[in-house]
Amino acid sequence: MDIDLLSNILYAMVRTGTPLLLVALGELVCEKSGVLNLGQEGMLLMGAVVGFIAALMSGSLLLGFLLAIAAGMIMSLLFGFIALGLNANQVATGLALTIFGTGLSAFIGAGFVGKPIDGLEPIALPLLSDIPLLGKMLFSQDLVVYLSFFLFAAVYWFFRSSRPGLVVKAVGENPHAANAIGLPVMRTRYLAVMFGGAMAGLAGGYLSIAYTPLWAENMSAGRGWIALALVVFASWKVERVLLGAWLFGLASILHLVFQGLGFSISPNLLATLPYAATVVVLVLLSRNQIRARLLAPMSLGKPFHATS
């Protein structure tokens, strides 16, 4: 395998892994606060359709991304209102958000299927992008990929050495104790859910404005669900989210790799790889039941109703 091919594969791996990374980072923060939001797929699709339409109508990609983020946040507030405000079952509410988001995005976007836009162009950083192998992978990407690097570093720092990060973890581990010492449990959870919504919205916008760039019904193709599995894969550790997102990015582009190497396997069969990989990863990480339970935030998925 020559170095050009390898460098192109690495480039595509990061690009494909970016939406997964964004969604998984958002969901990680959300789960750390004890909230399980299975609505990622719905928020992704709403971000994608709103971002695409905004970018197409206004001609401004920035406006497209901003409205994609806003769409994700509004969707997450809907989840927050029902799951946190009304104490509903988080699993069912998350599923509802996905079904609703899938339906609404298809409804809004029906007239925009297949319309072309000029997507976000990559920007090669001078000098850095000339580094062999890693230059193209890390320094010839578009702005959102660079933003994902920054957001990864920010979330890493947030949990490692910031006080609000500690508050989020405390709320997720034991909301009653956190409430007793005066931490705002509900506000923290709402903010964490909204951060998750913003990240999923951004990831959706990335799919329809930069990655593809066009709108098609159900275009996220399960990425929201894979990102949810990624958080389990990462054992709720930020650095492993990055690793996992890029590995899954690689699994999604394997058909290109195989083509490059001269194999011919049906693209439909290869398309099952990321999903099969997700199942395998879940199996490997959940096998030890006690370990799996220790790693997850203690109150994950459990509603909190302050008694006082």
């Binding site: 509410t93 609703f100 959940s286």
Partner: protein
């Protein structure tokens, strides 16, 4: 401000009122949506909800759509009772359609009354096997069934697309991604001439009765319910948890598989990439809406089938996207979850509850 106050015990009345309330709220939201889109709301609702079922053909079509949804939903009621979150009815339906169709195509030259039962059993086996995979992953490796069943849905869809492009493609089909038409011996007969209503609806109603008896009259059903209510109690009573998870998932997958082969051997008559417009996902909503009870599921299925027909009708007569169906489904589930809060909580408005505030309000009104 509005406050939620715990009721102390479940309200049986609210549990059954909540789906009705959710339906009404969805209708109101739909009316608002239509008027925003510049349609006459009442006329639009009439077009999508009454017009489709105003003749015999329409009612027959309703049953055609209801059969697969009912089969999936009644199966889901069993797993959901056990608190096993099988989100994979869609994939199990697709695998049932795929395996059953493969069998029908292998028997394309065969004739006789035995062909159809073999094809149907193959479909059920395909769906059950796909659910069994999730059961194995859950019981042997403790893998979260929500995520595995979702992943299996996507894998099943890709396998279906692969097979109609490859091994099961009609050799004389001008390269279209679809199989050859099944032979007559492998087709489900229609019930009424001139309509598409077929034996699938009979199977669905039969399944509803069987599951009703199973869950309310047998020890197995009792065990499944106990497992869902309190897993540690089930373990203490000596129930074999893993075995129950397996059985529940196999039943649910088998029925979804029957729904799938019922589509390809029924109204479709061949294997195509679009077997299901999301029936397996709609069945999740139906199961919740019907309170996991056979009667409730029967009614909720009819409503869901009507929403599917309404979406098609809206596209034909109002020029709206067919995705209207998905939008209504999502709204229905959201409203249901919000209304379900009333089962365990009652709404209190503290400002009204305080006597002095109430007196103040009365005085204010009197002063006017």
């Amino acid at each position: 401000m509005i406050k939620l106050e715990p009721r102390g015990q479940h309200s049986k009345l609210m549990a059954w009122l909540s789906p009705v309330l959710a339906g009404v709220l969805t209708l109101i939201s739909g009316a608002i949506l239509f008027s925003l889109l510049g349609q006459d709301p009442l006329e639009a609702l009439h077009t999508i909800l009454i017009l489709p079922v105003s003749d015999v053909y329409g009612v027959a079509e309703l049953c055609v759509k209801a059969a697969p949804i009912m089969l999936c939903a009644i199966g889901l009621s069993v797993v959901f009772k056990a608190k096993v979150w099988n989100i994979g009815a869609e994939g199990q339906l697709l695998m049932g359609g795929l395996i059953g169709s493969a069998c029908a195509l292998a028997l394309i030259d065969a004739e006789g009354v035995w062909v159809l039962p073999v094809v149907l059993l193959a479909g059920m086996a395909g769906g059950a096997a796909w659910a069994g995979l999730a059961a194995w992953l859950k019981t042997a490796f403790n893998a979260n069934e929500i995520l595995t069943t979702i992943m299996l849905n996507y894998i099943a869809l890709n396998l279906l697309i692969w097979s109609v492009h490859g091994p099961l493609k009609d050799p004389d089909g001008f390269n279209f991604p679809e199989s050859a038409m099944f032979s007559d011996s492998a087709l489900l007969p229609t019930l009424i001439d001139g309509t598409r209503i077929h034996w699938g609806m009979v199977f669905a109603l039969f399944a509803v009765v069987v599951i009703w008896v199973l869950m309310s009259r047998t020890f197995l059903g009792f065990q499944v319910k106990v497992l869902g209510l309190d897993a540690s109690a089930a373990r203490l009573a000596g129930f074999r948890e893993k075995r129950l998870v397996w059985i529940a998932l196999l039943i649910s997958g088998g029925l979804a598989g029957l729904a799938g082969i019922g589509e390809t051997a029924g109204p479709l008559g061949q294997l195509v990439p679009q077997i299901s417009p999301g029936y397996g996902y709609a069945a999740i909503i139906v199961a919740f809406l019907g309170r996991l009870h056979p009667l409730g599921i029967l009614l909720a299925t009819l409503l869901m089938a009507l929403i599917y027909m309404g979406g098609e009708m809206a596209q034909i007569t109002l020029g709206l996207p067919v995705a209207l169906t998905g939008l209504f489904q999502g709204m229905l589930l959201f409203y249901l979850l919000a209304c379900d809060v009333l089962i365990n909580f009652r709404i209190r408005i503290p400002a009204l509850a305080k006597p002095e505030a109430a007196v103040a309000t009365i005085k204010e009104e009197a002063a006017r």
